[in-house]
């Protein structure tokens, strides 16, 4: 059996073979020509657009000065190793905070979905938590946790600023992610829950085996979006001191009055978020395909 798309003949199941007709050949030729035309138009318009943008920038009166302070190759090479070393700390913060946030978010969402009266205190606590931590700016949470927690002088309280930063980010993002999970859970049609309960599954079992699998699939794209945002916000931890990418760039910039190190840090953040963004696109496209679009 040859390939139905490129080959001319497919072996029949019983008797009738497909021989690609001249009409189909002509149709495919036209289709290819049309695709070629639209991709050439796309390429041309992209090039024109970028040439215009570059021209607009380089023709501006302040460009020579900007070029000197932001695009200095020597400065870039000098600062890059330190900024990269700092950036590894950003990645570490991100990698530890991310699973913690997922756990906190999911737990809070599940608690908010407990409807029995006994759980009222827990449920109100969960509501209070999301209200507070989604309301307070992340940078403020980082300050409060970074300087407030150690001041309590509790036994076993971490004093290392990176750890405190992770705690602050987890608290702040946990609130967002809890709401994402909750909207996912609410979006599963009530008939699914009814079907599960009618089979004799408990509330917890229906959640675990029927509702959550559907809810989680649905919220993966918005979750990934939150994580792209988290990757960037690891830089906010710089405000309480640990030597991550932004802090390293600040130090270099302060030494030389040249801002190129910031550009190096920005570049690293972009390099990290782009794969995540493409992965989100891929997942979205896959779920579209699965639903037969």
């Amino acid at each position: 059996m040859s390939d139905p798309v490129s080959g001319a003949v497919t072996a029949p199941v019983d008797g009738k073979a497909w021989v690609k007709s001249d009409r189909q050949r002509e149709r495919e030729r036209l289709r290819r020509r049309r695709d070629l035309r639209s991709s050439s138009i796309a390429t041309a318009s992209t090039i024109v657009f970028f040439v215009l943008v570059v021209w607009l920038f380089t023709a501006s009166p302040g460009w020579p000065r900007v070029k000197e302070t932001f695009f200095d190759l020597g400065q870039f090479a000098g600062a890059f190793p330190d900024v990269l070393r700092g950036f590894l700390l950003n990645i570490k913060i991100f990698l530890i905070a991310e699973p913690l946030i997922l756990v906190v978010g999911l737990l809070v969402a599940l608690v908010r979905n407990l409807h029995a009266p006994v759980f009222f205190p827990l449920r109100s606590l969960a509501v209070l938590y999301t209200d507070i931590f989604r309301g307070v700016p992340t940078i403020l949470v980082i300050y409060l946790v970074g300087f407030g927690l150690p001041a309590l002088q509790l036994q076993g309280m971490p004093s290392d600023f990176a750890t405190l930063g992770i705690i602050a980010l987890t608290l702040s993002y946990g609130g967002y992610v809890a709401e994402v999970f909750r909207s996912g859970i609410d979006s599963v049609h009530p008939s699914q829950r009814a079907a599960a309960r009618s089979l004799g599954l408990t509330h917890g079992q229906s959640m675990r085996f029927v509702v959550l699998p559907q809810a989680v699939r649905r919220v993966v794209p918005p979750l990934l979006n939150d994580f792209v945002s988290l990757q960037k916000d690891t830089a906010l931890v710089a405000t309480i001191g640990p030597l991550e990418a932004l802090r390293q760039a600040q130090i270099h910039a302060a030494d030389t009055f040249n801002y190129t190190p910031y550009l190096a840090a920005a570049l690293l953040f972009i390099l990290l978020t782009i794969p995540m963004a493409r992965f989100t696109d891929y997942l979205a496209a896959r779920s579209q395909r699965r639903r037969g679009m």
Binding site: M1, D3, P4, T10, P12, D14, W18, R23
Partner: protein
């Protein structure tokens, strides 16, 4: 008898999914005011054929003509083609966040540029004609399955299509509700609507079909008048299929 005019002409249509041939060289012609019923086992390609006609699927070979122009032409605009064809699905596919009236007037207003007042007036006329006058402002989930499917048919009719495609429109309904939908289809036949319908209702096919087509594994194995197919099928496979349907009915 007026002159025969082919509304739909399907010529050697092939469709593959992955490595499976789902349609294998289908030839079929539908004249103006003609009602064609597609029968055949589940998976024989009835839905796929209807979806190809509505350009929801691209065919892999052959051609489909509507009123003499080729709609499978690469340069044809699918939106323009679909404006001339109405389609009703097995699962109704009504828009749940719109009232019945909004569901029906959406396409006339947005795709055909009919003024709101006129679109609503026509929609109300259609609803009255099919006994749903009091449901205009209801939301779909407040209607029974039979009512939802009747609304779906009205929605497809509201754009005055040249051709109506119906894909097992009664399969999701319980028998008590099937009758009300069948009645609409009969009335459409009376009014001269050109229709192609995939159906498991052999009674309906026998009643209203000018032509019955039996699909088997993606091949249009046999076509003829309802009389001929149901009383004197030529192909053994057709006979076998009808026998199976009959046995199922008896149980």
């Amino acid at each position: 008898m007026s002159e025969r005019v082919a509304v739909l002409e399907i010529e050697g249509v092939w469709k593959h999914y992955h490595r499976q041939n789902v349609l294998r060289g289908i030839d079929l012609s539908v004249d103006s005011h003609e009602v064609v019923c597609l029968i055949g086992a589940s998976g024989s390609g009835k839905s796929t054929l209807l979806r190809c006609v509505n350009l929801l699927e691209t065919i892999d070979d052959g051609a489909i003509h509507l009123d003499g122009t080729e709609i499978t032409d690469v340069r044809a605009n699918p939106d323009d083609v679909r404006k001339r064809i109405g389609m009703v699905f097995q699962a109704y596919n009504l828009f749940p966040y719109m009232t019945v009236l909004e569901n029906i007037t959406l396409a006339p207003r947005k795709a055909h540029g009919v003024a709101r007042a006129r679109a609503e007036e026509e929609a109300r006329d259609l609803l009255a004609r099919f006994g749903l006058a009091d449901k205009a402002t209801a939301y779909p989930d407040r209607l029974s399955g039979g009512q939802q499917q009747r609304v779906a048919i009205i929605r497809a009719l509201a754009t005055r299509p040249r051709l109506l495609l119906l894909d097992e429109v009664t399969s999701a309904l319980d028998p008590a509700l099937v009758a009300e939908v069948l009645e609409i289809i009969r009335e459409l036949k009376e009014s001269g609507m050109t229709m192609v319908l995939a159906t498991h209702e052999m009674g309906l096919a026998r009643d209203i079909a000018d032509k019955v087509c039996f699909l088997d594994g993606g091949v249009l194995l046999e076509q003829g008048t309802a009389e001929q197919i149901f009383t004197d099928p030529r192909e053994p496979r057709t006979r076998e299929f009808l026998q199976r349907v009959l046995d199922a009915r008896r149980i």
